[in-house]
């Protein structure tokens, strides 16, 4: 297949894959800046696994919810609990996240083995998400999550950045840091839940981490970091999809791979700039 034909195929036959991956790329790259800055990168991995576990739960007879709803309910419930535990001092942050991470994976494996409905491989495909087979319903849900999360963050940008930068002083100014943190994690939870169901955990976690880190290496102002991160998230998706078709590669790893190459270039640029 030539380049023009690949582009035509992607645009005409897989439009939801193209726009959906760009949508997820943008919102995850944006939220990821906060996640990396707050040093809770592991939280991204944890939330994707919790989301996958939530989908797995819906295969059990006593949890008869649609996959998306199951994922959302479990992710948000976990977010509320985690956000409380993360601000406590009794258990180290990493330990809290580690426990949730490993428990989610173990629970998912157990559920898959005992699921009465379908074959394990079939469930695994559903759990992992597949960019090429994004359904219109899921795409619309993702647009809603995108608008809500992005809208809230753009309208309340100064509050989210202030509480993230200096929670103690923000508290003296009347900002309830715990409330703002919980609001942030809930918004992130909604996005991660839908996004993981749509494009898979590797893609979501990759875009929560790789574009923000690349942006931090390239940009010198906070607003520029957000903009560069979003641009990497936006552009990696079509380029990665194109390469996946060209070289017959799996889509998600190809897209994350493109973002990782950008990160490598950013690192080289940063080293060269320092000399």
């Amino acid at each position: 297949m030539g380049a023009a034909e690949i582009v035509r195929t992607i645009v005409q036959e897989f439009p939801l894959a193209l726009y959906g991956s760009m949508l997820v790329g943008v919102i995850c790259a944006f939220l990821g800046v906060y996640i990396v800055a707050r040093r809770v990168v592991f939280l991204g991995a944890v939330m994707t696994q919790v989301s996958v576990m939530g989908i797995a739960l819906t295969f059990l007879p006593f949890f008869p919810l649609p996959h998306t709803v199951g994922s959302l309910v479990v992710t948000l419930a976990t977010v509320v609990i985690i956000s409380r535990l993360l601000t406590g001092k009794k258990i180290p942050r990493d330990a809290v996240l580690g426990v949730v991470f490993v428990t989610s994976i173990a629970a998912r494996i157990l559920i898959m083995q005992k699921s009465p409905k379908v074959e394990v491989a079939e469930i695994e495909n559903l759990l992992r998400g597949d960019i090429l087979f994004v359904t219109p319903e899921l795409f619309i849900l993702m647009i809603v999550a995108f608008v809500v999360a992005m809208g809230a963050h753009l309208l309340l940008f100064k509050e989210f950045t202030y509480v993230s930068f200096d929670p103690e002083t923000a508290r003296t100014q009347g900002y309830n840091a715990v409330w703002w943190d919980t609001a942030f994690y809930l918004l992130a939870g909604v996005v991660i839940s839908f996004a993981t169901h749509m494009v898979g955990d590797i893609y979501v976690f990759g875009f929560l981490v790789v574009p923000p880190v690349a942006a931090m290496l390239l940009a010198r102002k906070v607003t520029h970091i957000f903009i560069v991160s979003v641009l990497i998230g936006l552009l990696s998706a079509p380029v990665g999809l194109f390469l996946a078709f060209l070289f017959d590669l799996p889509s998600s790893p190809a897209i994350v791979g493109v973002a990782s190459v950008v990160l490598g270039i950013a690192w080289i640029v940063n080293v060269a700039r320092r000399r």
Partner: protein, 256 residues
């Protein structure tokens, strides 16, 4: 001068655990008030109660302006409580002091930018406005945080361990700056530190705190060898050399 902060027989602590009991003192408008004590003595507990982020377990604590409205605090936190992951510029950090005035959803405007410029100028760091906050020296960072506190147009400037981890010249420069803000602007200042000399040579009133020991009054009344010996549980002497108070441990024979 009107009383703006008042503790009446307050018991302070976390959850059900009392850390300080029977705390009674007040701060008036225009005061230059020092709160000193060893690490872990309960200074932060008193500070959080004043700032309204911790409620007293019993007794009463009021923090109210002369107009009857809640006090506006310009808080300067310890520098290590700040997250340095993102490269906020000095101007952006100081602008945060204006956020409360703007309210939700509203972006800072021209008036806020002018206020930020004035505050930077006031603490003599206007030339640093475009630099990344995280790359500044300790003394410069402290000036930025003071400028941010001023940008919030506070009734009371509250500084928590402002000279921690600084070399001598930076320490003195920061203390002189705070002194100037008090003297020239008539700002009420609350200075919290475990470095007794830093506080004692600048403030007009002093509270010393150590678990079951709390005394408050004018510096000369409070800063006595007897009080400090009780607080630190070792012989301490207070001397005045060239008008500056010097604290000597070991009854004046040992090192400081």
């Amino acid at each position: 001068m009107a009383t703006i902060i008042e503790f009446q027989d307050a018991v302070l602590g976390y959850g059900s655990k009392a850390i300080l009991r029977g705390i009674t003192f007040s701060i008036d408008t225009g005061d230059y008030f020092g709160l000193v004590g060893p690490n872990g003595a309960g200074k932060t507990t008193i500070l959080r109660t004043i700032l309204g982020t911790l409620r007293p377990l019993s007794g009463t604590v009021t923090a109210q302006g002369e107009n009857g409205l809640p006090l506006r605090f310009g808080y300067v936190p310890q520098r290590d409580t700040i997250d340095y992951a993102l490269p906020y510029t000095v101007e952006e950090v100081v602008m945060m002091g204006r956020y409360r005035q703007r309210g939700l959803f509203r972006r800072p405007g021209k008036e806020d930018r002018e206020a930020v410029g004035r505050c930077l100028d006031h603490v003599a760091i206007a030339d640093l406005a475009g630099l990344a906050f995280k790359e500044l020296s300790g003394g410069q960072k402290q000036r930025v945080l003071i400028a941010r506190a001023l940008a919030s147009e506070p009734d009371v400037l509250v500084l928590d361990e402002p000279t921690n981890g600084m070399d001598l010249s930076s320490r003195l420069a920061i203390l002189e700056l705070v002194h100037r803000l008090h003297r020239e602007d008539g700002l009420t200042v609350l200075l919290v530190s475990h470095l007794l000399e830093d506080v004692a040579n600048y403030v007009s009133r002093l509270a010393i705190v150590e678990r079951d020991f709390f005394k408050v009054g004018k510096v000369d009344e409070i800063l006595t060898g007897q009080n400090l010996s009780t607080m630190y549980e070792l012989p301490v002497d207070v001397r005045t050399i060239d008008g500056r108070k010097v604290i000597l441990s070991g009854g004046g024979n040992g090192g400081r």
